[in-house]
């Protein structure tokens, strides 16, 4: 299968971002290597390098997992340290893989990879079944609101391609997922090493009638993943050309977070609350302004309004009759991502859409034991890789929605004001 080059097809290709999660030695890197190899996304010089390294290490086969190794330290230690991004395409879709490490101490990487994903592949070793890490990965996928999950039960070749083993794991996983908020779950028995049901249908599992992994990746219904109902436009940048021709032009540039905007729409500007009407929505085509009949997420556009109200970066343009919550006391789940633990009553910088403010941590309500999924209300110490529920108060009002409803206006990051490091990811409840 070669990538598309015919213009009609590539102009209509969709984009799917997915993340992969598995424990150490579940064969995650091998699976990605297999997908890339069978979709012809590994080039000869890359394959040659991998073959050479495999030989040098004395392996009898080409170690496909080497394809995804990036940094020197990773190759030396044989582990993956950081999220790496991989790309491949079929005639139907272009794929972006956020390849995240399976090591327990790197939960923060999975959260990072999951934050922009439409789909998560969760790998389970057929010999081991559902393990603690599976709980962790599934919980994170649901917490980060990934709409689609594919559970790949790998290493089927090592359990004699047994349907009984597969069905047992499916049942076990369904018990787990019933406790989580996940909507669309699929199960596929695979062998990443041999390629069964990855790109090619397996010759060894006649009992499995479902799609291959690639088929599913190409056909999962993703057009409904965007929120096209609640109109939210965070103002990113104000465009004021200092040129004669555009003397009075004042455009509000940004990327539509959700919803569909049209010229003539009656809108409200937050935080001022001023009402206005959209006069035009522009993009730039062939060096000129092009007026759009409508614009929707995730398009980057420039909006002009009929009144000259004072609007700057961090403000939000919304529909008059559908507004986000405006408030300073915010309840959220956080994933902590820094060696320095959360400081109760500590102050942090906070980023939300295009707005930056400061906040104070008013309360830690509970910590989640992400292996058992229990709430712990006794031990509320939140450190690296912990997930908990907190209450914050911000210096200025934010305009937000719940993360469940809106992944853009429902998400924040917290920043340590001393080190400037990003210390937490927050999902508003």
């Amino acid at each position: 299968m070669s990538p598309p080059f015919n213009q009609e097809s590539y102009l209509n290709m969709e984009l799917l971002r997915f993340t992969t999660a598995g424990s150490v030695d579940d064969g995650k890197s091998t699976l990605i290597g297999r997908l890339l190899l069978d979709c012809k996304a590994i080039f000869e010089d890359q394959l040659e390098a991998v073959e050479q390294t495999s030989r040098r290490k004395g392996f009898s086969h080409v170690d496909l997992s080497l394809v995804t190794d990036g940094l020197k330290a990773e190759r030396e230690q044989g582990i993956t340290i950081d999220v790496a991004y991989r790309y491949f395409a079929t005639p139907k879709r272009k794929f972006i893989i956020a390849d995240t490490p399976g090591h327990i101490q790197y939960t923060r990487n999975m959260v990072t990879g999951a934050s922009t994903a439409n789909l998560a592949i969760i790998l389970i070793d057929a010999r081991k079944g559902v393990v603690e890490q599976t709980n962790r990965h599934s919980f994170i996928a649901s917490l980060l609101g990934i709409p689609h999950i594919i559970v790949c039960i790998n290493k089927m070749d090592l359990v004699e391609y047994s349907e009984v083993v597969f069905e047992g794991i499916v049942q076990e996983y369904k018990k787990l997922s019933s406790k989580l908020d996940v909507k669309d779950v699929h199960f596929i028995p695979i062998s990443a090493l041999n390629g069964d049901n990855v790109v090619e249908r397996s010759q060894n599992m006649d009992w499995y009638q479902g799609p291959t992994l690639l088929y599913l990746l190409e056909h999962v219904h993703i057009t409904g993943d965007e929120n096209h109902i609640d109109c939210r436009f965070p103002v990113q940048y104000v465009i004021r050309p200092q040129q004669k021709e555009f003397h009075d032009y004042r455009g509000y540039a940004g990327r539509i977070a959700s919803g569909v905007f049209k010229p003539g729409d009656k809108v409200k500007v937050l935080p001022s609350g001023f009402a206005a009407q959209i006069t035009a929505i522009h993009q730039v085509e062939h060096g000129e302004l092009e007026a759009l009949d409508e614009a929707f997420s995730p398009q980057s556009v420039t909006i002009t309004l009929d009144t000259d109200v004072d609007i700057s970066r961090g403000d939000m343009i919304v529909r008059e009759n559908n507004t986000p919550t405006v408030g300073q006391d915010i309840d959220m789940m956080v994933c902590w991502m820094n060696d320095k633990k959360l400081v109760p009553n500590g102050k942090y910088a906070i980023r939300h859409t295009t707005k930056e403010a400061r906040c104070i941590i008013k309360d830690v309500r509970y910590k989640v034991d992400i292996n058992s999924l229990h709430r712990n209300e006794q031990d509320k110490e939140i450190g690296m890789n912990d997930i908990g529920r907190i209450l914050i108060r911000t210096t200025v009002p934010l305009f937000y929605d719940s993360y469940r409803k809106n992944r853009i206006t429902g998400s924040v990051i917290l920043i340590d004001e001393g080190t400037n490091e990003t210390v937490a990811a927050g999902m508003i409840i």
């Binding site: 070669s2 990538p3 080059f5 213009q7 590539y10 102009l11 290709m13 969709e14 984009l15 080039f43 000869e44 010089d45 890359q46 390098a49 990036g70 940094l71 330290a73 340290i81 950081d82 790496a84 991004y85 991989r86 790309y87 395409a89 879709r93 272009k94 923060r108 959260v111 990072t112 934050s115 922009t116 057009t223 990113q236 940048y237 465009i239 004021r240 050309p241 040129q243 021709e245 540039a253 940004g254 990327r255 993009q283 730039v284 062939h286 997420s297 995730p298 398009q299 980057s300 991502m337 980023r351 939300h352 998400s411 924040v412 990051i413 920043i415 400037n420 490091e421 990003t422 990811a425």
Partner: protein, 301 residues
């Protein structure tokens, strides 16, 4: 029910424009690193789209090795004129003359590594706090781990093991004095995406990218253009070849490919069928397995 749908190229375009605007909003002195290669041309095109009808609110910075293809310089100057954008050029030769960099010797000598010295000096001189680059994650394994907003310490070093997590599209640009960021709006683009976008947008390119006849030599697996800067070994005799370039850097280390592809559509077909990465034509990456990682840590593009 009517579904709103953006194609993959439009999604990538929207993402890149968002990142470029975010850089302009969060930094005081951004520059766009312009090499004359197709990726920096696409970046400039996107920056134009991000701010029009205003002009691009930051200058282009070209680190001139003195070993450029003449076509690159001509293209650059035309583009700058057309867009009305400011251009800053800093020369590797000046760094050599000042004794800040030492010319490499021998047949594989290149000024590729020396550029880092000139680049870092220029960033300091211009008080740059954000340098936008056209690097893509699909190019090379060390680049696959890059962030959109990539932090550099006061020595301009990249610390790949200790990068800030980057969540959703919430970019953390907070920095201490003396630190800066590298910004990569094209992170998620592949070589094929770049070409398809060039076709869709009808972006003009230097003719080096299209098939033409030129005197070249074969060295190892590489085809190098004959030029005043290329040191010829005794047994090397230039021959007339029909070639084009997949990437454009210095004349001394950019390999050509034998190709009849004369139009963008031809190139898209050729790239789609290609079995070798574009950086496979770059001698600078072939020096060692971690050549790019090592250069990036030291502050390279």
């Amino acid at each position: 029910m009517h579904y709103y749908h953006l194609s993959h190229l439009h999604q990538l375009e929207s993402e890149a424009i968002f990142v470029i605007r975010e850089a302009a909003a969060q930094f005081e002195h951004p520059v766009l690193l312009f090499s004359g290669g197709k990726d920096s041309i696409v970046m400039t095109h996107l920056a134009y789209k991000a701010f029009y009808p205003a002009r691009i609110p930051f200058p282009l910075l070209h680190i001139d090795t003195g070993h450029n293809f003449p076509e690159t310089i001509e293209y650059r100057d035309n583009l700058v004129n057309k867009l009305g954008v400011r251009l800053e050029v800093r020369f590797v030769q000046d760094s050599i003359d000042k004794g800040r960099a030492t010319e490499e010797k021998g047949p594989n000598a290149s000024r590729n590594l020396l550029q880092t010295v000139t680049l870092l000096d220029a960033l300091e001189e211009l008080k740059v706090d954000a340098a936008l680059g056209g690097a893509r994650r699909d190019e090379e394994k060390a680049r696959a781990k890059e962030r959109f907003f990539s932090h550099r310490d006061e020595f301009s070093q990249w610390d790949p093991k200790n990068q800030r997590p980057e969540l959703w599209y919430l970019f953390n640009a907070r920095r201490h004095a003396g630190e800066h960021f590298r910004i990569f709006p094209l992170s998620n683009w592949t070589e094929l995406d770049i070409w398809q976008y060039i076709a869709m947008e009808k972006i003009e390119l230097p003719n080096l990218y299209f098939s033409h006849e030129r005197d070249c030599i074969s060295r190892g697996n590489m085809i190098l253009a004959k030029s005043d800067y290329l040191y010829l070994r005794e047994d090397e005799k230039p021959q007339r070849m029909r070639v084009r370039f997949r990437t454009i850097g210095d004349m001394t280390c950019t390999g050509a490919v034998l190709s009849p592809a004369a139009s963008i559509d031809d190139i898209i077909i050729e790239v789609a069928a290609s079995r070798v990465t574009e950086r496979g034509t770059r001698a600078d990456d072939k020096r060692s397995e971690t050549a790019m990682e090592d250069r990036k840590k030291a502050g390279y593009f």
